[in-house]
């Protein structure tokens, strides 16, 4: 039976077991939306295409499946771009489908034409402009394979309107033949035994867990390794949740706003075992000052990450789960050592109690962490609030900290929370945001309410752009420019106008009760905390400094 290209696309998505698409319709993608009418696949209509891309990415990060988003040509496609780039920087598997003008007029600047494959080439793992309807099934199959294997990432498929209308005989390929794509999976046994030997010999080892642990589902192996040899663990921002923050071996997040115990542990260690981490500049600070006394074992699935940012002594390329599993066998059992005593001491120094007379965001996050036992899904926007969330919420599970690490995209948290909530209906999803970021995509509250998604929002309203203000304080001698809003809406009223309950607090004693209301609310909820814009994130490592050199650390 002959079916149209658009029908073939939907059928292929069904065969890839896609359950949900986040998207926004338009002219060039009409045939696809028409075919979607007859499909079991659910479609979530977001309020902008950027929202759709972030939602697909939040969905992917929580579920481990490929997130799918869809938009029309031209402005629809360009609105996806920020979401695609965000997913790329954090290695998140999404497939983005865009409508395109008909092949006969491509290149003539017709209405809503944009070269989206050209535009997204730098930040997609791969992309396709479909030229023949017969290619649709193969391309969909390849796209899902590429997005989800090896180091995951976004794949974009651009579908011209005439191709979507062309009739073809549908046949879904059984096999994929990609000569140029062979994701490396198995770690080299010799390298693994060299690494184990180095671990056995090390006096002051530390494991640095990155987002790769979350991606590979290697949290059990990580825990086993750490416990067997009594190795303290630090995480990168992306590795948050990969190792329970409540574990006695956990030292905290490293980096520019890392916890002092974590930064100090790395700085004095003699062996850094980096697992699924890419030594990003925000994590390492000045490279020469990163573990200056340490040998480095680097385990990663992407060979291009080895030696890119730091020199490594023992590289192992492959699936971190398999490699850790193999390595643990040759790692010797060790009890607590002087090194552990030392690192425990570092930890005690930095977690003091808060008893402030003003509403401290850190206290709000700690209270939230306690009352939710560190078990819910936290999404964040970008800014001070993001750093406080990563530092002070005690994440106990992988895939529960959903934040834009690599690109630092304001506006990510709310749509990502929508995707996250769909991925895990039974868990609570809380977006921690600042008023700057919240205003970028707050329209997605409509998507939440429309789809009965009980997404919670903790909004720190400091009437401005806290983290940039902090940068101006340090780097521009307090010449503050464009970081204070002279107008902010009444967020409580605004939220209520969406039919979402909202509460505003101003004093520290209001925190526990407000958080109880947030947790016990069945539907979505917004808690607005009126906070001071002068509240900085500490510790802070200045540009060009080593992570051991912390202000307020």
């Amino acid at each position: 039976m002959l079916i149209t290209g658009a029908q073939a696309l939907i059928k292929s998505l069904e065969l890839e077991k896609v359950e949900i698409i986040f998207g926004y319709p338009g002219g060039a993608i009409l045939p696809v939306y028409d075919s979607l009418n007859h499909s079991e696949i659910k479609h979530i209509l977001t309020r902008s295409e950027q929202g759709a891309a972030h939602a697909a990415s939040g969905y992917a990060r929580v579920s481990g499946k490929v997130g799918v988003c869809m938009a029309t040509s031209g402005p629809g496609a360009t609105n996806l771009v920020t979401g695609i780039a965000t997913a790329y920087m954090d290695s998140i598997p999404i497939v983005a489908i865009t409508g395109q003008v008909s092949t006969a007029v491509i290149g003539r600047d017709v209405f809503q034409e944009v070269d989206i494959t050209g535009a997204t080439a730098p930040f997609t793992k791969h992309n396709y402009l479909i030229k023949k309807a017969e290619d649709i099934p193969r391309i969909i199959k390849e796209a899902f394979f590429i997005a989800s294997t090896g180091r995951p990432g976004p794949v974009l498929i651009d579908l011209p309107k005439d191709i979507a209308d062309t009739k073809i005989e549908f046949e879904y390929p059984k096999k994929i033949t990609l000569r140029g794509y062979k994701p490396n999976i198995i770690g080299h046994p010799l390298q693994i035994s060299r690494a184990a030997e180095a671990i056995n010999k090390a006096k002051r080892p530390v494991i640095c867990a990155g987002g790769g642990i979350n991606t590979a589902g290697a949290e059990k192996e990580l825990k086993k390794l750490a416990e067997k040899a009594h190795i303290p663990v630090v995480t990168t921002l992306m590795g948050t949740g990969a190792f329970s923050a409540k574990h006695s071996l956990y030292m905290g997040m490293i980096g520019m706003h890392g916890i002092s115990s974590a930064n100090k542990t790395v700085s004095v260690s003699d062996l850094i075992i980096a697992v699924g981490a890419r030594f990003g500049d925000r994590a390492t600070g000045k490279v020469e000052g990163f573990g200056p006394k340490a040998k480095i074992i680097h385990i990663d699935i992407d060979p291009a990450e080895i030696g890119k940012n730091v020199q490594v002594h023992i590289p192992i390329v492959g699936d971190v789960k398999q490699i850790l599993d193999e390595m643990i066998k040759s790692v010797e059992l060790k009890g607590s050592t002087d090194w552990n005593k030392y690192t425990d001491g570092l930890k005690e120094e930095c977690f003091d109690d808060i008893n402030d007379s003003y509403l401290n965001p850190v206290e709000v996050i700690r209270c939230l962490s306690n009352k939710t036992k560190g078990e819910v899904i936290i999404t964040t926007e970008v800014g001070c609030h993001q750093m406080w969330a990563a530092q002070h919420y005690e994440f106990t599970k992988p895939r529960t900290f959903i934040s834009s690490g690599g690109l630092g995209t304001m506006g990510y948290g709310l749509p990502a929370a929508i995707g996250a909530q769909i991925a895990q209906e039974d868990n609570m999803v809380i977006n921690i945001c600042g008023d700057g970021s919240f205003q970028m995509n707050l329209t997605e509250m409509a998507t939440a309410i429309e789809n009965n998604l009980p997404v919670k929002i903790v909004l720190f309203n400091n009437r401005g752009l806290g983290l940039v203000r902090q940068l101006q304080e340090f780097y521009c001698e307090k010449r503050y420019n464009q970081v204070h809003f002279s107008f902010v809406p009444d967020f409580v009223k605004l939220t209520e106008s969406y039919g979402i309950k909202a509460v505003r607090i101003k004093k520290p004693e209001e925190i526990p009760k407000a958080i109880d209301s947030l947790i016990s609310e069945k539907g979505p909820f917004l808690l607005e905390c009126m906070v001071d814009i002068d509240k900085n994130v500490y510790p802070m490592v200045l540009n060009g400094s080593s992570i051991n050199d912390m202000i307020g650390g």
Binding site: A121, R179, G180, A304
Partner: protein
């Protein structure tokens, strides 16, 4: 330092722009790039001469390998390979200097492919050194135009750069 890479790629539209984009985006410098199909029409072979130290070349190789359309990247070592480039050079050639130009061309085994009243166009194939020497010698006559293909290279002996086909 210059390094020659031989890159086998899928013969798709858009592959060239992906590769060129990768070089500019990551700040790698291309000294020359030549591309054409191979014995297998589905596969093109690019010969890319890269400028940079060992770290840069290693990064170029790895980043190229990450592209789905790139099938294989191999480094070509100068000792074990034959490298060639073709140039077309148009020189001022008034009748009184013609015989001298022809003489130089003969020494270099270059071919004169076009002659007009005032100019000659010469084709020369060779490695970098030979081509530079030739260019130097012709300079005094006045070079009107010079076009080069970019370097191509193959390994010496039975050594080949091929994809390992598997089923």
């Amino acid at each position: 330092m210059k390094t020659t890479l031989s890159v086998l790629v899928e013969n798709h539209p858009g592959v060239l722009s992906r590769i060129a984009g990768l070089f500019s985006r990551r700040g790698f410098n291309i000294d020359s790039l030549a591309v054409g199909t191979t014995e297998n029409p589905d596969i093109s072979r690019m010969t890319i001469v890269v400028e940079g130290d060992e770290y840069v070349v290693e990064q170029v190789k790895k980043q190229l390998n990450k592209l789905v359309d790139v099938i294989k990247v191999s480094k070509i070592s100068p000792e074990d390979s034959v490298t060639r480039e073709l140039i077309l050079i148009k020189v001022d050639a008034e009748p009184q200097v013609r015989s001298e130009i022809i003489h130089i061309s003969e020494i270099f085994r270059a071919n004169i492919v076009d002659v007009s009243r005032k100019s000659m166009t010469i084709e020369l194939t060779g490695d970098k050194d030979k081509i530079s020497a030739f260019e130097e010698l012709l300079k005094p006559f006045g070079i009107k135009e010079l076009v080069r293909t970019g370097v191509i290279a193959v390994n010496r002996g039975t050594n080949t750069i091929k994809i390992e086909e598997e089923d």
